[in-house]
């Protein structure tokens, strides 16, 4: 091998910081909890009715908090309004301007009708909200996928990885919310195991789908061009090994799968631990994608 050494180069910095990873995490939780809330009120699955109201409240609150992260990451936060005035249809961030406006408005309308007890209108706005919820999180996948400089981001799988991981974290959060509410705030202080078991099955399915997508992504990265191989090495053996393999895959997916899929550990306590781990794991995924994606210098 010919030795090649860089003697001088200009310093290199990452463009998108941790607030962006937090933003992606919160929109994911919001989209996930919205979709769970429509199971009962949009699709009439009575078992999930206890999730309806809390789901829409969380979806709305999370989506009000999430864009604050976008604002604090701007160099010129007071020019935020320009995002709604100058539109660039080829920019995924510009799509967000519409989605981040329409989705919370729809959440509020849907939630209002739900609390007023108007079943038909609730159903209509719940169903309208599903494509909006999918888009509001799917577009964040496009933000990364369309930035062609970053090989870890620039894949057609990215929007789908984001959607599935949103479901994973959303379901885990709703399990935690349901357990805490039943145990400490309900009249009978008894956990609704019928509801939890239904969510656990969904959670297992989503984790398996998530692992499949990530596995597919890595397998192709390993067998593509040199930069792609380098990106795969970064998360498998390099600087992001611990947070990706340890945090996202082992703690965030494999351990929860083990806890949820056998009868001995599938107790309220085991399910709680698994859900907490899943939520940490998905944050590790957002961090690996956003920060790790920028860790390979461009020159």
């Amino acid at each position: 091998m010919i030795e090649v050494q860089t003697i001088y180069n200009v310093p290199y910095g990452e463009a998108l910081g941790v607030p962006i990873a937090v933003y992606f995490y919160l929109t994911g939780l919001s989209a996930g909890s919205f979709i769970l809330s429509t199971l009962a009120y949009g699709f009439g699955m009575a078992r999930y009715k206890p999730l309806g109201k809390i789901g829409v409240v969380l979806a709305t609150l999370l989506l009000v908090v999430a864009p604050v992260n976008l604002m604090i990451d701007l160099e010129q936060p007071w020019r935020f309004w320009e995002l709604f005035y100058y539109i660039n249809l080829t920019s995924a961030i510009s799509w967000g301007s519409f989605l981040l406006t329409l989705y919370p408005i729809n959440c509020v309308i849907y939630g209002t009708f739900m609390f007023m007890g108007k079943a038909r209108l609730t159903k209509i706005f719940g169903l309208i909200g599903i494509p909006l919820a999918l888009s509001v999180h799917g577009y964040t996948g496009f933000i990364l996928a369309l930035a062609k400089a970053r090989i870890l981001w620039n894949t057609a799988l990215m929007p789908f990885i984001f959607l599935v991981s949103a479901m994973v974290s959303g379901i885990a959060m709703m399990i935690l919310v349901a357990i805490v509410r039943d145990k400490y705030f309900s009249a009978e202080r008894k956990i609704n195991m019928d509801l939890i078991n239904g969510l656990v099955v969904m959670l297992i399915g989503s984790i398996v789908a998530d692992l499949t997508l990530i596995g597919t992504d890595i397998l192709v990265l390993l067998n593509s061009h040199d930069e792609a191989y380098e990106a795969a090495q970064l998360i498998l053996t390099g600087a992001f090994r611990n947070i990706f393999l340890g945090g996202e895959i082992f703690l965030g997916a494999l351990i929860p799968l083990a806890l949820l899929s056998n009868r001995i550990t599938r107790t309220p306590f085991g399910i709680t631990v698994a859900s907490v781990l899943v939520m940490i794991g998905i944050f590790a995924m957002r961090y690996t994608m956003v920060i790790g994606g920028q860790a390979i210098p461009q020159h």
Binding site: V4, Q5, T6, N9, D73, E75, F80, Y86
Partner: protein, 201 residues
């Protein structure tokens, strides 16, 4: 990268860096800083230095880098507020009064040619010294290069010096696989040096 010219009519400015003439003196970086008031810690053009081989077969390779003012710029398509735009002569510009500093362009640029101005809090990059070009001068780096390695001109004019050099020499661009059609050409670009990265130092 189809040919040296452009699909567009009219002027198309480009730069050619003849690495056989580059001394690695960093004059271009200094001239750029003073011409464009580039703050401490950031650069709009810089010279990457790479050492190849093992003694006694060694060589020091220079890769002067700057914004490629691409024909198909990623920064332009990802900017959510259209602060990045293109002049009719091909120079890719940033409206400093419009840039919100979301840094999406920085994340998307395959050449890492953009930086945040730590004083003005907006994103900036090389604009081929458009203010000098408009006054009939060449960019500051071209003007100052002691080896005459940098040549600036209109690639849509077949009689220009840059067109003649590109037509009669083997030329390279950085990362052609990114599909950005860069407008900074090199003669004698070492691919190993171009790909070498910081961590390997």
């Amino acid at each position: 990268m189809e040919g040296n010219g452009s699909r567009k009519k009219g002027k198309r400015y480009a730069m050619l860096i003849d690495l056989r003439r580059c001394l690695g003196c960093h004059s271009c970086a200094v001239a750029c800083k003073s011409e464009n008031d580039v703050p401490l810690g950031v650069y709009r053009t810089w010279v990457k230095i790479v050492e190849k081989g093992s003694y006694p077969n060694v060589r020091r390779v220079f890769v002067p880098s700057l914004c490629n003012n691409c024909e198909r710029p990623v920064c332009l398509s990802v900017c959510p507020v259209k602060a990045t735009y293109r002049r009719p002569d091909g120079i890719v510009m940033i409206d400093e009064h419009r840039c919100i500093g979301c840094k999406y362009c920085m994340a998307a640029c395959p050449y890492d040619a953009r930086h945040v101005n730590p004083i003005k809090k907006i994103v900036q990059k090389c604009y081929f010294c458009f203010h000098r070009v408009d006054a009939g001068l060449v960019p500051a780096c071209v003007n100052t290069c002691p080896g005459g390695a940098r040549v600036f001109g209109d690639v849509n004019d077949p009689e220009s010096e840059i067109s003649r050099l590109i037509a009669t020499n083997p030329v390279q661009v950085l990362k052609p696989e990114k599909g950005t059609e860069p407008r900074v050409y090199y003669i004698g670009l070492d691919e190993m040096a171009a790909k070498a990265k910081v961590e390997e130092a």
